[in-house]
């Protein structure tokens, strides 16, 4: 809890009546970092964001902002601004007045407001739009106005609640790049909420994976992708093959009836584990060279690659390859030790 963290969440939990929506949330957000709260619907990520913004009060725990406890502070006193999911632009005000809203509250003189608004519009590539009506703007434009409206107040932290959800794919990808650029150029902390794991991997410095009100894993995109800590994270991020096996000893693991070299240590000898291999990490090789063999049962063209399902015994492997093997072909697959990820076996619930 130092002055160098932008935000600290300490032991946050939240109940709505009988339902517990957040449990034991502990995390810190560094200055100027792009942190994403990632998870499926209902995991509690939006609630966490709203607690940081001050729109919900936690049932227990503390919210610390640059060393100061702001748990009881109402939103209009926090130096934090929010970009809402459906933008929440004021329909009865034009673009200029929307962006100027916060500045007017701070009683900033008109002479200063105009240039600041113009500056923001330039930042989001909408110069000249001051007089436009909100309902004449497209989704992407409204989105950018919402960002401008928040940023013009020079907050220390910007909260974004699934801001790109309503945009089509191409526009979304463009906006992702733009948001990242804006964050870097303005140099403030972004706290971003999304359920789209690709989006999170593209934009974030740090990802917080959440499920059922709890934090599942915190790490950089590469960490989360390559070293998922549990089954949930492994399944949620990217595609995976998850198969049960046994850790024979350090650097040696057994699954699919074979023993493989791997790069993980720290498990008990003969400990039951879960093995994660990404579909793109399985190479197709001639049948006799394969560590694992199987029969192709389906092929789907995905544009970037082919996705094939390969059945070996009771387990079906998913592989991504630019090579295409037809259905009913017997093929061999190999994987290098670095791409075999070991996780502690989950004694869990859903598949």
């Amino acid at each position: 809890m130092t002055k160098f963290h932008s935000i600290d969440l300490i032991d946050i939990s939240k109940d709505f009546g009988e339902t517990t929506v957040l449990e034991n949330i502990n995390l810190y957000i560094r200055q100027n970092e792009f942190l994403t709260l990632l998870g499926p619907s209902g995991c509690g990520k939006t609630t966490t964001l709203r607690i940081i913004g001050g729109f919900e009060a936690p049932s227990s725990g503390k919210v610390i902002f640059e060393g100061e406890d702001i748990t009881k502070q109402p939103p209009y006193l926090r130096q934090i601004n929010t970009v809402f999911q459906k933008y929440a632009l004021f329909p009865h005000l034009n673009v200029f007045e929307n962006i100027a809203f916060g500045l007017r509250i701070k009683k900033i003189p008109n002479s200063e407001i105009a240039p600041r608004v113009a500056e923001m519009l330039r930042l989001v590539n909408l110069s000249g739009y001051e007089k436009r009506d909100i309902d004449s703007l497209s989704g992407g434009q409204q989105q950018r106005i919402a960002i401008a409206r928040a940023l013009v107040n020079e907050p220390k932290v910007l909260l974004l609640d699934e801001p790109l959800g309503a945009l089509d794919l191409k526009l979304r990808k463009e906006m992702q790049m733009e948001l990242k650029k804006i964050q870097k150029s303005v140099g403030i902390t972004f706290v971003y909420v999304t359920h789209d794991q690709e989006e999170a991997l593209t934009m974030s410095d740090t990802i917080v994976v959440m499920d059922k009100g709890r934090i599942q894993q915190i790490g950089t995109p590469t960490d989360i992708y390559n070293e998922p800590r549990n089954r949930f994270v492994a399944k949620f991020i990217g595609e995976s093959n998850i198969i049960e096996g046994t850790m024979i000893e350090d650097y040696k693991v057994e699954f699919a009836g074979k023993i493989f070299s791997c790069v993980d240590i720290g498990f008990e000898n003969n400990e039951p584990v879960d093995i994660v291999i990404r579909p793109e990490d399985l190479d197709i090789v001639p049948l006799e060279d394969g560590q694992i063999t199987g029969r192709v049962i389906s092929v789907t063209f995905k544009g970037v690659h082919y996705e094939m399902e390969v059945k070996n015994g009771s387990f079906t492997w998913t592989i991504h390859s630019t090579l295409m093997k037809e259905v009913d072909t017997e093929i061999g697959m190999r994987v290098i030790p670095e791409n075999i990820h070991i996780m502690k076996r989950s004694v869990d619930d859903e598949n």
């Binding site: 913004g53 729109f55 109402p74 939103p75 209009y76 934090i80 601004n81 929010t82 809402f84 999911q85 459906k86 929440a88 632009l89 004021f90 329909p91 009865h92 809203f101 916060g102 509250i105 701070k106 009506d133 309902d135 004449s136 409206r149 928040a150 107040n153």
Partner: protein
């Protein structure tokens, strides 16, 4: 096609049924005699007598005064009520909504009698004040019911966005919420005004000291028998109303057209 003609005929008959009495009223307001069956010639004298009738003029004055005052008061209380109710949850909300709906559901005679009892209980003198209080009471639910849907339609994050940008709840209310729901507020106010102008039963029971509104006056005159002055009054009210309705209709159509064009 036979079906189409039947439809046309039926529609015509229904509208005839609805308008015939009114048309007769209007026509006979110009009749130069008190008879309602026989035409004796065109005259405007009933209109002149209308404007000279003190009873009617006094009633008109009170009617309009109470309508404006009660719709104003009920709109103000009602707007804040709707906003407050909208933010409520659970049992309290259901209770308030059901209580709110009570004057709408209850036959107006029961509401009238209940209010009458209240005023006697607190030994309040029956007159303009009691009629005013009664009018506000039955207008409030309609105002609230006009505004609530607008609140539901509104993006619920608007107020939060305002506060996020530094507005206190009061500022957010003033500058964001109220402008957003203004159409509902205006509808509610107009509805209250209309209901108040037209009210009979509740006014009848809660007035006193000879204070009458238009409906009460018409009632007493009608009980005494046919009076062409009433016909004249009907004609004037009919013309006023139709014009008002046409203007409102025209304006709403214009609004919708301009919204369409902007897209």
């Amino acid at each position: 096609m036979v079906e189409k003609s039947i439809k046309r005929l039926y529609t015509f008959m229904i509208f005839l049924f609805l308008y015939a009495p009114i048309i007769v009223l209007i026509v006979f307001s110009f009749n130069d005699s008190k008879s309602r069956g026989v035409w004796s010639g065109f005259t405007l004298r009933w209109y002149f007598e209308l404007f000279k009738d003190r009873e009617v003029l006094r009633a008109l004055y009170y009617t309009i005064f109470i309508a404006i005052t009660s719709s104003l008061i009920s709109t103000i209380i009602g707007t804040f009520a709707a906003i407050g109710i909208f933010g409520m949850n659970g049992f309290g909300k259901k209770l308030v909504l059901n209580l709110n709906y009570l004057p709408v559901l209850n036959p107006d005679i029961v509401t009238a009698v209940a209010l009458m009892t209240l005023f006697r209980f607190v030994k309040l003198e029956f007159g303009v004040l009691t009629m005013l209080l009664a009018h506000v009471t039955f207008c409030l639910p309609y105002v609230i019911l006009s505004i609530l849907p607008k609140l539901k339609q509104m993006n619920r994050h608007l107020a939060e966005a305002a506060m996020d940008l530094g507005a206190t709840p009061l500022y957010a209310l003033r500058k964001v919420v109220i402008p957003e729901i203004m159409p509902g507020i205006i509808t509610g106010a107009l509805l209250a005004f209309t209901l108040s102008i037209d009210d009979f039963v509740i006014s009848f029971f809660t007035t006193g000291h000879g204070i009458s509104n238009l409906s009460i006056t018409i009632f007493s005159m009608a009980r005494r028998g046919i009076n062409p002055i009433i016909n004249a009054l009907s004609t004037l009210m009919f013309i006023t109303m139709v014009s008002l309705l046409l203007i409102i209709n025209y304006r709403t159509e214009k609004q919708e057209k301009s919204l369409e064009e902007r897209r």
